[in-house]
């Protein structure tokens, strides 16, 4: 049967990609599905059906059968500095668009602080009429807003700048992006209360961590859609993500969403902190360096199949992945099974929200032969995700940060996926 499209769904591009509508209109024939279905087995009542289960738990944990679904992190270059670096989201094991709080990526420059919310304060000062200090209790009484937004570390995808493709999985390559529902006080309300001086053009935001991680955020962004967040997916923000309060600058480079936020100072020009000069800037082949690349550029990758999530044999599969852009909504995602020679549009899972992860899906009939799977996204502003070659042509390989090029999974005859460059 392999290679033969018995599903009734029309092919959408080379390599076995099928029309995305087949996913929802039930056009995938039963014949094909049963061809790869499990053999009949005699069913009985297992032990969990024959006696009552466990009591409730105060704070839930995943099933013990899901223990492989966890964040991972590389050991720091210096064993004397644990907590330097980043833990990564295991996207290959997840579906949907929201990242569970326990699996949201974490980046820390000086470990994760253990902050007592009773003692924590947020100060707003500098070029304002009324310098103010807020307790967490005071902040929690302000009108709040919720929005679903991705946060992506400026260093995500850095391994794609290696000259040779690394033998690593989706988590290692793209695990520094996550998406949550963030709830907090619009920063504009707090800034209005302080009374911003017209000379102010930037908000210097600083954390209470031992690194005092700090960034200069354009005032226009602060007044537009920035939130001073207390909640992440309905509960108080996790320590690794900024407890008790973090900034959300939707769509902007991860570390501008300053965690453990304790100070906002209105200033006339950027402070030029270490993390907006020495790091999070992109060195070009010319020797010049791009600075202040605020919004995350349009991006996508396939989460399934991917390394470790292979296919047992030829048949019908769903290719699924994530797309996002700091410029707004995702407009289209295209998928290729032949290394970019032909492309088919993927279905976008509702809701497609601006500056949020967007799940895409497309049916694929794998014939058991070699395939090169890729996805590329376009955002509402018309930005198209570049190929790796196009990215290198523009900025070389030494930029380290803001790597948004197409990712390729090679499918071997054994059904396993691996990271390759085409």
């Amino acid at each position: 049967m392999s290679g033969q499209n018995t599903s009734g769904a029309p092919p959408a591009a080379g390599g076995g990609l099928l029309d995305r509508r087949a996913l929802f209109e039930g056009a995938l024939g039963a014949g094909l599905l049963s061809a790869s279905g499990a053999a009949a087995e005699t069913l009985g009542d297992p032990v969990w059906t024959q006696k009552p289960g466990a009591n409730f738990t105060p704070y839930g944990q995943p099933s013990r059968f899901e223990s492989k679904v966890k964040r991972v992190w590389a050991p720091p270059a210096n064993p004397a500095t644990p907590g330097i670096g980043a833990s990564r989201t295991p996207h290959q094991f997840l579906d949907g668009a929201i990242t569970p709080n326990s699996l949201h990526f974490e980046r820390a420059h000086g470990g994760i602080p253990d902050i007592d919310p009773e003692q924590h304060r947020l100060v707003i000062h500098g070029l304002v009429k009324r310098p103010l200090v807020f307790t967490m209790e005071a902040l929690s009484r302000y009108p709040m807003k919720s929005r679903i937004a991705f946060i992506e570390c400026g260093g995500n995808g850095g391994s794609l700048s290696q000259p040779v493709a690394q033998n690593v999985d989706a988590q290692a390559i793209r695990g520094l992006v996550s998406c949550a529902e963030w709830t907090g006080v619009p920063l504009s309300i707090l800034l209005d209360e302080a009374g911003v001086d017209p000379a102010a053009k930037f908000v210097f935001a600083e954390g209470a961590d031992s690194a005092g991680m700090s960034r200069s955020i354009p005032l226009a962004k602060a007044m537009d859609d920035a939130l001073v967040c207390l909640y992440q997916n309905g509960e108080r923000i996790r320590p690794g993500n900024g407890y008790p309060v973090r900034l959300l600058a939707p769509g902007f480079e991860g570390n501008m969403n300053v965690k453990w936020l304790r100070r906002l100072k209105l200033v006339a020009s950027p402070v030029m902190t270490k993390d907006e000069t020495s790091k999070y800037t992109v060195l070009l082949d010319s020797g010049k360096t791009w600075q202040f690349i605020w919004p995350i550029e349009v991006n996508s990758f396939i989460t399934r199949p991917s390394p470790g999530i292979g296919m047992p044999g030829p048949g019908l599969f769903e290719i699924s992945g994530l797309a996002w852009s700091g410029a707004g909504q995702i407009k289209t995602v295209e998928v290729s099974a032949d290394g970019g020679k032909s492309w088919a549009p993927a279905a976008l899972q509702d809701p497609v929200l601006p500056k949020a992860l967007t799940r895409f899906r497309i049916p694929w009939k794998w014939d058991g032969g070699p395939a090169l799977l890729q996805s590329r996204s376009t955002d509402a502003a018309g930005n198209l995700q570049p190929s790796r070659a196009a990215m290198i042509a523009e900025r070389g390989l030494r930029g380290q940060f803001h790597v948004n090029c197409i990712l390729t999974w090679a499918i071997g005859a054994n059904g396993e996926a691996s990271n390759v460059y085409v």
Partner: protein, 177 residues
């Protein structure tokens, strides 16, 4: 033209019509600068925020050997953590790895004061006195050949130091947001 000047038109344009009608309960307590002085630590490129005190490279060399060397190598040569000295000529040689150090890469000397005082030594941040930070800054700038051996660093001299890569930073070619 400074980095900020090319950003300004875009920022002003975007700032023309913010939509913020919502009002809060006004629960911020008045803060006076004396109360928040201990937190008011950032140093701006024009030197705003620099404290009193001064330091020489020779003093900084001793402090560095004692408090920094185990993570940043002898005289800031690097390993296991960031190399702080050298790397000149590597930025515009794409065939070689870029060695980005304080000397070869950083655009402002004020950032070195700001960052060292706020975050270093990594396991004991905020433990250095202001003269110690000035001395460490003088030492790292001297090792990078940016200042002379006897140039004292203080609130007056530090902002006037012109870093070798001062003009190396350019705007991102796509619109800021």
């Amino acid at each position: 033209m400074s980095m900020f000047e090319w950003l300004a038109p875009a920022l002003l344009l975007l700032f023309a019509g913010p939509l913020h009608a919502a009002e809060g309960p006004g629960l911020g307590a008045p803060a006076n600068e004396a109360d928040i002085a201990a937190w008011n630590i950032e140093i701006q490129p024009d030197g705003k925020g620099l404290p009193a005190g001064r330091g020489l490279a020779a003093e900084g060399e001793k402090i560095f050997a004692e408090k920094c060397q185990r993570c940043h190598g002898e005289k800031g040569g690097g390993k296991p953590n960031d190399q702080l000295v050298g790397g000149f000529g590597t930025l515009s040689a794409p065939e070689k790895p870029a060695v980005k150090t304080v000397g070869s890469f950083w655009p402002y000397a004020t950032t070195l004061f700001d960052y060292t005082r706020r975050a270093m030594p990594w396991d004991a941040p905020r433990s250095l006195s202001n003269p110690e930070v000035y001395a460490l800054v003088a030492f790292l700038l001297r090792e990078n050949g940016v200042i002379g051996a006897d140039d004292a660093m203080d609130a007056d001299t530090l902002p006037r130091v012109v870093m070798p890569n001062r003009d190396g930073f350019i705007p991102f070619p796509r619109k800021p947001f």
